[in-house]
């Protein structure tokens, strides 16, 4: 072979760059041992929390058909358990899977042990502590009411410390002292994950504390919605996609014993994905009070996102070229193939759902839930389980206990996913079509919302069965895990590896500073020529900190382009004169609404769609939400929208009876009873603190911030509502006036009434503002 061929036809500059790399790898040979103990710990946590997340999921799925399954307890009601399910699935199950993947692959891709064993342990135990905190606080009703970001402020701080201080420092420290010059593409995806999740978490969680486990988002209404779905969508992007793509790029080639199909494609895949994904958040808010320019932008970038997503999917599947025969033999590959296929399907469906016309039908329905579960169970679940089965023999240095059981897990899980998503697709489309159906006279064909709910019961039962099968698969994995662990050797072998240390690249080698090939005398010409030689990116691929900064710039652009105009251009949120802050009692009621997780079933956002206006009343305006810290627009309608509840149904006794026993009011209702609100007392003294916290955020509470005023105002309003209930034939004032249900009723009666109020006289408004 000629020298030129051996170099693959490299240009002079590239050849010198290669020489530089080679020169950098001729340092002294160093020995090292990988830390697999930490991988074993994260792998076990993955399977353990998987079972917990799936179990809670099955329970709440069954509650939609059998509401009594909450056993009449506040801690097990749907609104409180649903965030527990989503947090457990995302941050406990998928999170631990990510960490297992990162700790195993990073050490090997960098040819070094993790930067610090202490940081590894702090990361592991810190993260498990956060999960336990979530498991305790969410069922207890402590929540910020922002989907997938429900945890209260002290836990948010802990997350930031563990993520950045322990995980981030450990990871980047490992990259810095690596012995492999080129950072493999899986590491790029890990870098994007760590940087972007930190950014999203910090900005979305900014809040003013109003107690040890209570806070109010610093953003309100439209702006809060934008930031929340910038976070929410990118939690999917950078917690459930990029790290799993890193996992795919490492473990799939390992399992198939084939290099990735196209490394060129992986480069384009990476940068396109991280740049485009961050823009797509507003597609969660189509036809809401969010300005349409923002949601249209979200839609366009979501459609563009299809390309890099499918580039990655194709790259994954084609990695199996020449190895497809192994798929029939190896359960690991079966999991990976179906996982990547689900990634392709979900990333086709996502852009489709972001198209406004499709979204007008799908939004708030179970279609979204089906989409999410196709991704979470199919892509994240199967990639995680495939990785676990591949890791088990290597981590425990023995054969997998039962390949048959792993195969059984694969088939049971696959059937479970299909039963789940197909039934819920049918449920979602049924829901959407029933909501917008009209009869021949132009009236809603199903004016009673509950009709559209009872229609879904068969689908819900099939969904719960599918979930049960997926849970069974998780239990089989746990059994296989434990039995493989029991067969481990008495003492783990710790192979000693050796690799040359990396040395700084000499500038003369060419990699550090490309030389221009031109004889032109303009600086621009030289700069352009150096750029065209393309070695700038090759240099970047070997510099973790610079790489991280460029990733941060790429993701920041999308966020800033949407956030800056939303916060700084006033015309985005036209004010409405008649909109006033919630009264202290209404604020307390709103806190109860948040605490009980009502937003998990009810939206507060009427879209300018004829069927919605007909059913719920005038469509929602941006100016109506300027005091909503946090916004409560919701993302699904298991129950009806409540944006105009105060206008549609101001009857206090009806609400009282409904909270006590929904089925006594509507026999087909699937809402759980909130009987405890009829006994638990309002903490009137606490209301003052909360009003002051809201005032700190700029809500004009006027004299209500003075000591005792908010409390007195709340007590008076509570007495009025209690009297109204008594006069309508309900229980006596003495029995109800200090109960939580009264505050919640005050909030219900307030919803949507701002538009029908007469604006305060200018003098009064000025006094209030002062």
């Amino acid at each position: 072979m000629s020298k030129g061929a051996a170099w693959g036809g490299l240009t002079g500059a590239e050849r010198s760059a290669h020489a530089g790399e080679t020169a950098g790898q001729t340092g002294p040979l160093e020995e090292f041992v990988y830390d697999d103990k930490i991988v074993r710990m994260f792998a076990f946590a993955t399977v353990l929390w998987a079972v917990v997340a799936f179990l809670v999921g099955v329970l709440i799925a069954l509650q939609l058909t059998f509401p009594a399954l909450n056993l009449g307890l506040p801690y097990t009601s749907f609104g409180r358990l649903r965030p527990l399910h989503t947090n457990a699935a995302i941050f406990a199950f998928a999170g631990n899977a990510i960490f297992a993947a990162v700790y195993y692959s990073t050490q090997r891709l960098c040819k070094t042990r993790m930067f610090s064993d202490t940081l590894s342990k702090l990361h592991f135990w810190g993260w498990q502590f956060i999960i336990v905190c979530a498991a305790l606080t969410l069922p207890s009703g402590f929540t910020q009411a922002k989907e997938y970001a429900e945890l209260e402020w002290p836990i948010d701080i802990l997350i930031a410390v563990v993520w950045v201080g322990f995980f981030g420092v450990n990871f980047f420290g490992t990259l810095v002292r690596r012995r492999e010059r080129h950072m493999y593409v899986a590491l790029w995806f890990y870098i994007a994950t760590i940087v972007t999740v930190a950014m999203l978490h910090v900005f979305n969680s900014l809040a003013i504390p109003a107690g040890l486990l209570k806070s109010y988002s610093v953003y309100a209404g439209v702006q809060d919605a934008l930031i929340q779905w910038w976070y929410g969508h990118n939690a999917v992007a950078f917690f459930l996609t990029t790290p799993f793509l890193g996992l795919m790029y490492y473990f799939l080639p390992k399992a198939a014993e084939r290099p990735v199909f196209s490394y060129r494609l992986s480069i384009i895949h990476f940068w396109s994905l991280v740049f485009i994904y961050i823009w797509a958040g507003p597609h969660h808010l189509h036809y809401t009070a969010l300005p349409s320019w923002a949601s249209t932008l979200g839609m366009l970038f979501s459609v563009m996102l299809w390309m890099p997503s499918w580039g990655g999917m194709i790259n994954g599947l084609l990695t199996l070229r020449g190895a497809w025969h192994k798929v029939t033999q190896e359960p690991v590959l079966k999991f990976f193939v179906v996982g990547v296929t689900f990634y392709g399907m979900s990333t086709f469906e996502g852009p489709m759902l972001s198209v406004k016309l499709v979204n007008s039908l799908s939004h708030y329905t179970d279609w979204t839930i089906a989409h999410v579960h196709a991704g979470a169970l199919g892509w994240n679940g199967f990639m995680a389980f495939g990785m676990i089965y591949w890791l088990l023999p290597r981590l425990f240095q023995t054969e997998l206990w039962s390949k048959k059981l792993a195969n059984a897990h694969f088939w049971i899980g696959t059937i479970g996913i299909l039963m789940y998503i197909l039934s819920i697709y049918a449920a979602g489309i049924t829901q959407g079509l029933m909501w917008r159906a009209f009869d021949a006279q132009g009236n809603l064909a199903f004016p009673d919302f509950v009709e559209t709910v009872t229609q879904l019961m068969p689908f819900y039962l099939i969904r719960a069965t599918g979930g049960l099968l997926f849970l069974t698969g998780g239990l089989l994995c746990m059994l296989n895990f434990v039995m493989t662990w029991k067969n481990r050797p008495a003492r783990y072998e710790e192979p000693v590896h050796a690799a040359p240390a990396l040395r700084p690249i000499p500038a003369v080698a060419g990699l550090a500073d490309t030389e221009s090939r031109l004889h032109a005398n303009t600086n621009l010409g030289h700069t352009g020529d150096k750029f065209l030689q393309g070695t700038w990116h090759r240099r970047l691929e070997g510099k973790p900190i610079k790489f991280m900064i460029w990733v941060l710039i790429a993701v920041a652009i999308g966020g800033l382009v949407e956030a800056i105009p939303m916060f700084l251009v006033r015309s985005n949120v036209p004010t409405i004169e008649s909109v006033t802050p919630y009264t202290p009692l209404e604020l307390a009621g709103r806190d109860i609404y948040i605490s009980e997780g009502c937003y998990n079933c009810h939206s507060q956002m009427i879209r300018p769609i004829f069927a919605e206006v007909k059913r719920y009343g005038d469509y929602s305006k941006p100016g109506e939400f300027v005091y909503d810290h946090p916004f409560q627009w919701g993302s699904r309608r298991i129950g009806p929208d409540l944006a105009r509840e105060g206008v549609i149904n101001p009857n206090s006794l009806w609400h009282y009876n409904h909270f006590r026993d929904p089925r006594a009011v509507n026999p087909n209702s699937i809402m759980p009873s909130f009987a405890w609100l009829l006994h638990d007392k309002i903490d009137f003294a606490q209301i003052q603190t909360r009003v002051r916290a809201m005032a700190m955020l700029g809500v004009p509470y006027g004299e209500a911030v003075e000591e005792g005023v908010a409390q007195a105002m709340a007590e008076i309003q509570a007495g009025d509502i209690a009297l109204e209930i008594e006069q309508a034939g309900g229980p006596s004032v003495a029995e109800t006036r200090d109960k939580k249900v009264i505050a919640l009723i005050a909030y219900m009666k307030r919803l949507g009434t701002d538009l029908t109020k007469t604006p305060a006289a200018p003098a009064e408004a000025t006094a209030n503002a002062e």
């Binding site: 693959g8 480069i267 750029f531 800056i564 700084l568």
Partner: protein, 60 residues
Amino acid sequence: MLSDVFGNLRLDVFPTVGMVFFLVAFIAISWRAVRASRAEMDEAAGIPLHESDSTGSKGE
């Protein structure tokens, strides 16, 4: 003041600027990927396979 500056800009300026950034980055990255030699790409793609993953003497 910042609000006044941004308030007077047309809204389509923001996505247009973002789009330009993306296109420049996309073309540059694609250029780098297309220009890379096969040997370099093959070498990078093979990195995960360089390392053998021992299952220990009990698992061999």
